[in-house]
Structure formats: C-alpha cells, structure tokens
C-alpha cells in the first residue's frame, strides 16, 4: 500500500514540476517583462522613471539573470513564502488577490455541491428503485429541463425576479452597505441572503446530471444476484438497498470525487461573471484578457496542482471505499 502510494507521490512531484515549468514559460511568453510594464505604467501616469531607477528595478527583480536562475527564484518564492509575484493589472500581490477569492469560491462550490448531493442522491435512488413509475418520469422530466437550461439564463431570470418582485440587488455576494464592512453577524446574514441564488443556479444543472448518474449506476446494480441474496436473507427492503446496491453504485462517485477540487477555486466562471460574484473564475478571465501574466501563471499552477492532488484524493477515496481496489494496491 505504502509502496504504491510512495510511487504515486513521486509521479505527482514530477508532474507538478513539469507544470511549474509550463507555467513559468507562459508567464515569460509575452514580449517585455515586469519592469518594462512598470515603466510603461509610470509613463502613462505622467511620471517617468530615471535610468538609475530602472537599473535598480531590473537588478532587484533579477531580470538580467539567466532564465533558470529566474525560474529558481520564482518557484522558491512560491514554495517557501507563498509569494506568487505581482499582478500588473491590480498592482497587488497575486497571492493576496487569489486568497481573497478562494474562501468565497470554496463556500459557493461546497454549498452547491452539498445541495446537489442532498437532492440528487435520494431522488436518484428513488428513480432507480421505482423505475418507470410516475415519480421517476416526473423527476426525469424536471431533470432534463434542469440540464437543458443554460446557467447564465437561469441566473439572469432569477436576478430579474429578485429585482422586480423583491427589490433586492441579487448580483454580487453583498449588499452595497456591507460591501466593504468588516465581518459581523449582519454581513454573514447578508451573504446568506445573496448566496442562495448562485448556489441554486450552479446546483440546478449539477443536480439534474447527478440524478441521471445516480439512477443509471444504481440500475446497474439493482438486479444483481447479491441483491437477491441479501433479500433472501430477510433484510428489510430499504436497509438492503442502502447496504448493498447503493453502496456498490457509489464506487464511480468516489473515483471522481477528487476532481471537484479545482472547481473549488476556478469553477463557475460564467455564472460568476453574469452575477458579478467575486470568485476565482472572473479573476482568471480578466487576467487572461489583460495579459496579467503572473496572475494567469499562478492560476494555472494552482489549478493544475489541485487537479493532480484531486486525482490522488480520488484514488485514496476509492481505496477506502472499495476493498477490491484496496487489496490491489496492497499487492502492488
């Protein structure tokens, strides 16, 4: 087991290293460098920099050093100090910029995920067990609508309804009076009042999809002989359903659960843009559009890292869930 995951960890490190190089290359791709951008900005602001200042800056940022030295400095700053560099467009450290949004992104993603699971699992199980019943048809119908309606449209409709009938500003995550206020109970409540709309918007299509997946996976298991055995043993119906086929049908779920990690930071860009939510997605989008390379490169680094870590998490989760996988790892 440890041998398997030891090897796994080595692959992860190598992959992450390759990703960091790619990110670094991307950062250095546009013509010009950090200092030339600074000069341009300063000139645009009407205050030119003296040549001495420029030389100083170039020295300070080590821009004339060999490229691998620059890479080393960049990656060690990230690893040792969490310093991802400076955003040109925002004139702030990238770490601060992203950090501000991570919490909200994560709250949003996790809440909508919980909503998806809480609704989709019971309905999916019901639909499979009562296949072709009126209930199943009804949920399938609603599910297809949920999948077919684009998120941005649902967002716009909900915002319109909120504005028109409740007079609420449903865009963003805070009312204007709390926007820059320090955290207190009022601000938390205000956040709750705003959060349900994006949670609903993001959750609807996810729920619809999850219902289909849960139903299909469970239908695969429901009529297997081991279910007959469990029934023949005299177990009550609901208990045997949960203990045997439902448990088996969750294996695919556990094998993909780690893939949700990158979504915690970068997901739901379109909804966030439409509803002007201060999450990670729009930040990445704006960074790409303004060639804010440290921002974009850092995003790529973080998202890729989360993806790689997510795969490992999935494998661990599946091994924990399914003894067949666990035993295979042990043998390897």
């Amino acid at each position: 087991m440890l041998g398997y995951f030891g090897r796994r960890l080595l692959y992860v490190v190598v992959t992450l290293w390759a990703i960091s190089i790619a990110a670094f290359v991307i950062i250095n791709l546009p013509p010009g460098d950090y200092v030339s951008t600074l000069i341009a900005n300063a000139q645009a602001g009407g205050e030119g920099l003296t040549p001495a200042e420029i030389v100083n800056l170039r020295l300070r940022y080590g821009l004339d050093d060999p490229i691998f030295v620059q890479y080393w400095r960049w990656i060690t700053a990230i690893l040792l100090h969490g310093d991802f560099g400076q955003s040109f467009a925002w004139n702030q450290p990238v770490a601060t910029l992203i950090g501000e949004r991570v919490a909200l992104s994560a709250i949003l993603s996790i809440s909508s995920l919980l909503m998806v699971w809480a609704i989709a699992f019971p309905i999916g199980i019901y639909s499979a067990v009562k296949q072709y019943s009126w209930g199943d048809y009804g949920f399938s119908f609603l599910g297809f609508i949920g999948m077919a309606v684009p998120e941005f449209m649902l967002a716009l409709v909900l915002m319109y309804i909120g504005f028109r009938f409740f007079g609420a500003s449903v865009g963003g995550l805070f009312s204007p009076e709390f926007q820059d206020a320090a955290w207190n109970l009022g601000k938390v409540l205000d956040l709750m009042g705003h959060l349900w709309v994006p949670i609903l918007v993001i959750g609807v299509s996810g729920t619809a999809g999850m219902i289909r997946v849960t139903r299909a996976n469970l239908l695969d298991e429901l009529y297997r002989p081991y279910v007959h055995t469990a029934r023949a043993k005299g177990l009550p119906e609901w208990k045997l359903l949960l203990k045997y086929p439902v448990r088996m049908s969750l294996s695919p779920f556990f094998s993909t659960v780690g893939w949700l990690l990158p979504g915690l930071i970068g997901g739901e860009t379109i909804v966030s843009v439409v509803m002007s939510l201060p999450t990670g997605g729009p930040l990445l989008l704006s960074g790409v559009m303004s060639q804010d390379m440290y921002l974009v490169g850092s995003f790529i680094m973080i998202l890729s890292t989360l993806t790689v870590v997510g795969t490992v998490v999935s494998d661990l989760a599946l091994a924990w869930w399914d003894p067949r996988i666990r035993k295979r790892y042990k043998r390897e």
């Binding site: 007959h228 023949a232 043993k233 005299g234 177990l235 088996m248």
Partner: protein, 335 residues
C-alpha cells in the same frame, strides 16, 4: 408416504412476466411437494422456469415478474404458513431462517465489498438474538464445517480473495448458518469445474446428514440430479410433467418429455460412442405456448385431436405423478 412428512407444498403456482410484447408464463401451474430432510431435484432444459419457480417460493421474483396465483405452504414446527399471500414480516422471518438459498454464481451472489464473515454474521443476527462475538464464532464454525481451511482467517476475507469452489462453500455456510429446514440450491455447481462440482455435491450430502435439512436441487444436469436426488421433478415450459422417486424416474421415465430428456443426456457407463438423441423440434417461443399439452408439437406419441386441445392434469401412475394424456385411461380404469 405419509403426508405429515411434507415440508413444503406448492399448488398450482403461476408466475408470469408482464412484458410490453405480451405475457411470459414462466411458471404455469406447478405442483410440487418437498418432504422433510429429503433431496428433491428439479430438472429440465434451461428456460423451463426452474429458477423463477424457486424464486417464487421466497417471493424474490423481480418485476415485471409477478406471482399470479397458487399456494405455497410451508409446514413449520409451529404450524403451516402460506407464503404467496404472506405479509412482509412473516416473509422476512421465513427467509433464511426456514428457507435459505444458494445461487449459481458464487462470485455474483456474494457482496464483493463485505467480508464473508460480516455477511454470515448479518444473517445470523437478523434471525437470532445473539451478540456480535457469538455470531462471529458461529460464522467461523460454519466456515469450518463447509471445509474452508483456516476459517479463523478466512472469516475476514473478501469473496474475491477466494477461489470459485471456496466461494460456493462460503455461500453454503451462510445459507446453513440459521439452520433452515429447506435449502434451495439453484444450479449451485454449474459455474464450477467438474472436480469442484463433485466436491460441492458431496459436501451438500454430508451437511444434509449433519443438519437434516431438505434440499431442493435445481439443475439442468441429469447427472447431478442422479447423484443427489431422493425424488425428482421434471419441468417443461413452466410445469412439472413428471414427479416421483429419483431412481424410478431416471430408470423408467413415463412422460414422453422425460423420456426424451433422458435419451438426450450422456449417461455414466454408457459407451461414449452411443449417439445421443436430441429432442426433436424447438422450445416454442415464450409468448406462444402451444394449446393443450404444451409438449405436443415435439412429442412422438402425440394424439391428434386430443393432445392439442386437452390440457393434461396430474395423473398418479404407480407412486408417481405424470402430466400426460397417455396415462389418462389408467386413472379412469382404477376402481
């Protein structure tokens, strides 16, 4: 044969599948009796309704299958209970405690994500008021009795860690863990190789001597039936066509279908070059059962005008029951 020996009595059992294209009468009027402590073999070509019949006993038929009628009476120590109309509570009680089942695919019929031990413990604790530790000891004891080596270690093994034969032994251990009075074994050896098959059959015989349960052995293999059966029922298209003592049915079958089935099977001791006679014609499609005797399109002795109109009923022939119009007269001639 005194009637108070009867453990399970099936009368006119009908289980149908209501499909979009029509109704499949998988079990269409089965009459059977299983006596205490004896082995009844149910034989017949595959598709004749053996499994559906067996599942109907414990009401385990999945939709669109449905028991359309009949009575299944189980004679328990404390009196008879009827299973077709039984409520859920009674049914759950009868399942495994009175009647346990072993299925064809030991790999598929055990849960692969639960240990063998936990699956046996679950069965025991479901029906008996015993603690975890005691149930676990029982599981280990049962694994030992079915001949699984190192039961104390194997109890924590998962089914996929055992060989096919060992898995089926574990399944049998689980089936007998609550000391049922009837064990239904649906093709328990079909998925196994010949050597393992012989071992499992021998094991079942030994366990029957030890525990005294009756066995309903479902098989399409007359060889298997010959090895274990005290009594035998031959099924064709959802009906029992001949029912009687195993050696009598095997040595001198009365029903034309039973005769044809025996001719079509290789027999021990018979020269291997002897040609096997295939049963003529084909099994009719499930939606269109022939009228009259369902075997008449394939029967060499069919009487035109009679076999294709009159449905034969169970006719006592000696101490057997045969559903064939050829024996109708014998009954009428009897005083």
């Amino acid at each position: 044969m005194p009637e108070d020996d009867v453990l399970l009595e099936i009368e006119d059992l009908r289980t149908h599948f209501l499909l979009d294209d029509g109704v499949v009468c998988a079990v269409d009027g089965v009459d059977l009796r299983v006596r205490k402590g004896e082995t009844l073999a149910i034989v017949g070509e595959s598709g004749c309704g053996k499994s559906v019949m067996a599942r109907s006993i414990l009401r385990l038929v999945d939709p669109p299958g449905q028991i359309e009628g009949g009575r299944i009476t189980l004679h328990r120590e404390d009196g008879p209970v009827e299973l077709v109309g039984a409520d859920k509570r009674l049914l759950r009680q009868v399942r495994w405690r009175d009647i346990a089942m072993v299925f064809q695919e030991p790999m598929a019929s055990l849960s692969l994500v639960h240990t063998i031990g936990s699956q046996i413990v679950e069965a025991v604790r479901l029906h008996e008021n015993v603690g975890k530790a005691e149930a676990r000891e029982r599981a280990i004891d049962m694994l030992d009795r079915v001949g699984i080596p190192k039961p104390r270690r194997r109890v924590d093994a998962y089914p996929f860690e055992l060989s096919g034969g060992m898995r089926q032994r574990a399944m049998i251990a689980m089936a007998l863990s609550c000391r049922p009075s009837l064990l239904i074994a649906d093709e328990p050896t079909t998925a196994l190789d010949v050597t393992t098959q012989a071992q499992i059959l021998e094991l079942l015989r030994d366990l029957q001597a030890e525990f005294g349960m009756a066995i309903m052995m479902i098989t399409h293999d007359l060889g298997v039936a010959a090895q274990v059966a005290d009594r035998m029922a031959v099924m064709y298209l959802g009906r029992v066509v001949e029912y009687g003592a195993a050696e009598q049915v095997l040595s001198a079958p009365r029903h034309p279908y039973a005769q044809a089935l025996l001719r079509s099977m290789p027999r021990l001791g018979r020269a291997s070059r002897t040609r096997l006679a295939a049963i003529k014609g084909m099994v009719p499609p499930p939606f269109a059962r022939p009228a009259g005797c369902t075997f008449h399109p394939r029967c060499d002795s069919a009487m035109t005008g009679r076999c294709d109109t009159v449905t034969p009923s169970r006719i006592p022939v000696g101490d057997r029951e045969v559903s064939c119009l050829l024996y109708d007269d014998e009954q009428e001639e009897r005083p």
